[in-house]
């Protein structure tokens, strides 16, 4: 990349960031409107409880500002956000950002690990499958890949619980988020409680990714440049790893990068099943309990991540593929 290229790329990035602002505003407006239009009440649990009569619930709604029209609430929310204030959760009365901060480590630990494992598994499996298509290995890999991405995580999760927790009693299915890893024993406990959720998620993601790597490799294997490389007398290993793989990785890298934001938002179903206090679990609970500030914060952060990773991917393209120019 020459200096001219760098300047072009700089301009491109700035332009994209400027475009991102109205996009994000639009997204936040839509989410807010949807939340405001969906009826719900943070105190719905007390609705049939005579000790919390309607007047009291009304007073609480007023104190939470829920009785203003939705567009006023939206601008209040946006104004506070500009000052860096994400608001406080109705259910816990603490700043939303604190809640998210409490949960991020668990999510990154479990979901992030599953993601890394699935990348580490999918790339080699995909390569071998593509190099030896329809071999026994490929058939097994394909079968697992199909099982992986066609069986929903709530099913594999329950299946693993029934086998390993209920029948064999090897692994716990209640995630202990207060466990502190201080020695080998507690480390082993941490590993034990992470095995099942990580497996469930990794199985699902590996399945999808393997198919992708395989397809991309298959596409590049019959290309002219591959034949040239072989004709030069390079050994097969170098041909595959240096020539075919590098080119095949361009779409795969996109897919992987675009998947990164989903790590931060957690896995709603898996977190629920194993009681992991991750962000996905927080999101679904907050939706159920009409805890608008929390839902807004999580979805908005997710939107920001998606937009920025799209940009990162586009920039990454230029690095991976010199043919792409930003003009």
């Amino acid at each position: 990349m020459g200096p001219k290229q760098v300047v072009h790329m700089g301009r491109y990035i700035i332009r994209r960031i400027l475009f991102a602002i109205p996009t994000l505003l639009g997204i936040s407006l839509v989410i807010f409107a949807v939340l405001a239009l969906a009826p719900g009440d943070p105190l719905a649990q007390f609705a049939a409880d005579p000790s919390v009569p309607p007047e009291v619930r009304e007073q609480i709604r007023v104190s939470l500002g829920l009785n203003d029209p939705w567009y006023i609430r939206y601008f209040k929310w946006l104004g506070a956000l500009m000052r860096g204030d994400w608001g406080f959760s109705f259910a816990a009365r603490v700043p939303v950002i604190e809640l998210i901060g409490q949960r991020l480590p668990q999510t990154l630990q479990v979901i992030g690990l599953a993601y890394i494992i699935s990348i580490c598994l999918a790339i080699p499996i995909g390569i071998i499958s593509a190099v030896k298509p329809y071999s026994a290995f490929d058939n097994i890999a394909t079968t697992f890949a199909f099982i992986g991405f066609s069986v929903p995580t709530f099913f594999t999760g329950l299946l693993l619980i029934l086998i390993f927790s209920v029948n064999l009693r090897w692994l716990p299915f209640i995630y202990n988020s207060t466990l502190e890893v201080t020695d080998w024993n507690s480390f082993w406990q941490q590993v034990k409680q992470m095995i099942m959720p990580v497996t469930v998620l990794a199985l699902y993601q590996t399945g999808t990714l393997t198919r992708f790597v395989r397809a991309s490799m298959m596409e590049n294997l019959p290309m002219d440049y591959t034949r040239t490389a072989r004709a030069k007398g390079l050994n097969e290993r170098n041909v595959i790893l240096w020539h075919v793989l590098r080119n095949s990785m361009i779409p795969v890298a996109t897919l992987i990068a675009l998947g990164v934001p989903t790590i931060f938002t957690g896995a709603i179903v898996t977190e629920q099943i194993f009681r992991i206090n991750g962000i996905g679990e927080l999101l679904i609970r907050s939706i159920q309990n009409s805890d608008t500030p929390v839902v807004m914060a999580i979805t908005f952060i997710f939107a920001v991540l998606v937009v920025s990773f799209n940009l990162i991917v586009d920039v990454l393209y230029g690095v991976l593929d010199p043919r792409i120019r930003y003009e």
Binding site: P50, S51, P53, S290
Partner: protein, 616 residues
């Protein structure tokens, strides 16, 4: 080629076997050492057998603590709530789970035991008219605090803290969930350091409504002093205090992961030197009720599981297969009931929809209401769907002191399709060609709504079949629970608007005194657009006799006479069929086989007596 196919097939078979192995009724693989058979023998053999008077059956008397116990003799008590606690200041709670999680820390002046009687916690005795604690004319009550109670930070609990708790919630802008417990108070004053006097605005027959049970937890003045008003939720120091209140209870907070886990340690200043038994308590939240049941009955990962609202068949199977725990049902006043709409909610009426000026076209006919009630098979609903978590009832007040149990009434409301048909025939409702009864061009066709909940949907199905047998067309509707029980004005699908003919949900008195519960349905409480559909009488039932009884009940001070009036009101509900009680719903928890000493109360927090719990 063959080999490859073979491999694939082998693999597929392997996976299939795994699936089958998991789904099939696997033997109750016992953990090798965890379960000495003797432990099982001491537990109640079957939950069904213990159901009839379910209140305290599975527990031993909480007072007889065995010699082996003592403060901190036990290790960890693990409690599982499928709804996670989110705040520990009870006055700002958003659900029962918050009341329960905070009960280990914050205490009321007196708890209410399973029998509806008060148990002194922070006071020397329960005030009564006889001991002079309650004024003869019922205008005041005086509580005498114990002088040896310390907060978990070592400071003394004094009358100032109690007065402060009142001031905290008396301010409307604090927006306490518990505000109604502080209604009707003229003043709360500290007579001396250990004496608190509440003066009522008017003579109050329900003297114990303040500073008792869930709504009456005392918070520390020093900690919350600057938190009155909006600051309660917005000020950073108050937010921190809400999550970590200092209390007088058996435990103090160690760590609170909001919406996930609460960890507690013994409060070394707790008043009883021999209690609590467990060094630590861990309340884990999240997941769902069936998997919580699995954790306590099958894997034994938890010692106590809250509110196991699981379908009877599934629950029974988990208990039988598991062998790790027992079911602990305990009575509440909750009754699943059908409510009948007395106004016309036809959408074509526009603004007039559901207003009192628009009587319902056919549900105002007593014969129709009686027929609807007569045709329901409560027994089938209760036995097939609720199992140990419910029993059929014909009355809202089936519990002590109003009745000795639901059996008192049974027989009054057995299903009788023939009688129901006869009633409708007599009233002139004739069966049409399509199997639906008609009179003067009006078809007996109802919309029946409830919240989304598999138990409720199955109940709806059974009732629909019953009603169609008497020629009443029934259309079922289910609304998401958050919406159904939500209270915002623009929400047409909630129980307040009641834009359907029939609806069904559970509610019940939350305190032993049924007045506030029964008086919800007086005529002037009808939910209308004028009160933004927040009147509690959402049936819009108008009955002058009932209104008069309510007024009489509010003024009555003689307990025996109160019971009589309450029963008369209940009888009126049954005879005028404004509501149809279906199933009395005990709350159901699960306890590990080794856990002892629990005595959950339907009038207070499930964990109110956690200081008495121990393990053998």
């Amino acid at each position: 080629m063959y080999r490859k196919r073979l491999l694939t097939w082998l693999l597929a078979t392997l996976v299939l076997t795994m699936v089958l192995a998991a789904c099939g009724s696997a033997p109750p693989a016992q953990a090798p050492t965890s379960e000495p058979p003797a432990a099982q023998a001491t537990t109640p053999p079957s939950t069904e057998a213990t159901m009839a008077p379910p209140a305290e059956t599975p527990t031993e008397a909480p007072t007889e603590a065995p010699a082996a116990t003592g403060r901190g003799a036990g290790d960890v008590l693990r409690i599982l709530y499928w709804q996670a606690p989110t705040i520990l200041n009870t006055h700002l709670a958003v659900g029962t789970k918050d009341w329960d999680a905070s009960r280990l820390i914050l205490e009321p002046l007196a708890s209410i035991g399973p029998d509806g009687k008060l148990v002194a916690e922070l006071v020397t005795e329960i005030p009564t008219v006889e001991n002079g604690g309650i004024a003869e004319d019922l205008t005041s009550i005086t509580w005498k605090l114990r002088d040896d109670i310390k907060w978990s930070d070592g400071s003394d609990l004094t009358a100032a803290d109690v007065v402060f708790t009142y001031e905290y919630c008396a301010d409307e802008t604090t927006a306490c969930t518990t505000a109604s417990a502080f209604d009707g108070i003229a003043s709360v004053e500290a007579v001396d350091d250990y004496t608190v006097k509440i003066t009522w605005e008017a003579p109050n027959a329900n003297s114990y409504k303040t500073f008792t049970s869930n709504s009456g937890r005392i918070i520390q003045k020093a900690q919350f002093e600057s938190c009155i008003g909006a600051a309660a939720s917005t000020d950073a120091a108050c937010q921190a205090a809400n999550l970590a209140p200092i209390g007088t209870g058996p435990y103090k907070l160690v760590d609170f992961r909001v919406g996930d886990t609460v960890l507690y340690d013994i409060n070394e200043f707790y008043r009883d030197p021999d209690k609590p038994f467990f060094q630590r308590v861990e309340i884990k939240g999240g997941g769902d009720a069936p998997s919580a049941a699995r954790a306590v009955f099958q894997t034994g990962e938890t010692d106590w599981a809250w509110n196991l609202q699981v379908e009877a068949a599934v629950l029974q199977q988990l208990i039988n297969q598991g062998g790790q725990g027992v079911l602990v049902p305990y009575n509440t006043a909750n009754v699943e009931r059908i409510l009948i709409n007395f106004t016309n909610v036809d959408p074509e009426l526009g603004e007039e929809r559901g207003q009192l000026s628009q009587p319902h076209p056919f549900l105002t006919d007593l014969a129709v209401r009686q027929a609807l009630a007569l045709s329901i098979d409560r027994r089938a609903i209760s036995e097939q769907l609720y199992g140990p978590t419910g029993f059929p009832t014909c009355s809202l007040l089936w519990y002590e002191p109003f009745a000795s149990g639901p059996d008192d009434f049974f027989g009054d409301c057995e299903q009788d399709i023939d009688a129901a048909n006869a009633l409708l025939d007599e009233a002139g409702w004739e069966l049409g060609a399509d199997g639906v009864r008609v009179k003067d061009g009006i078809r007996l066709s109802v919309i029946f709504q409830t919240s989304v909940n598999s138990l409720r949907q199955k109940t709806q199905e059974l009732i629909k079949a019953n009603w169609e047998a008497i020629g009443v067309e029934t259309e079922l509707k289910s609304v998401d629970a958050g919406v159904f029980f939500g209270s915002d004005v623009g929400n047409p699908d909630n129980i307040g608007h009641f834009f359907a003919d029939i609806q069904m949900y559970t509610t019940g008195a939350s305190e032993p005194d049924p007045t506030s519960h029964l008086c919800q349905w007086v005529s002037e409480q009808a939910s209308q657009s004028e009160n933004e559909w927040r009147g509690q009488n959402n049936m819009r039932w108008q009955n002058a006799e009932y209104d008069a009884l309510c007024a009489e009940l509010r003024a009555e001070t003689d307990p025996d006479r109160q019971v009589e009036i309450a029963l008369a009101m209940d009888a009126l509900i049954s005879s005028d069929v404004s509501m149809i009680p279906l199933v009395a719903r005990p709350r159901v928890a699960g306890a590990s086989n080794a856990l002892r000493g629990y005595n959950p109360s339907g009038w207070d927090s499930e964990l109110w007596d956690v200081a008495n719990w121990y393990k053998e």
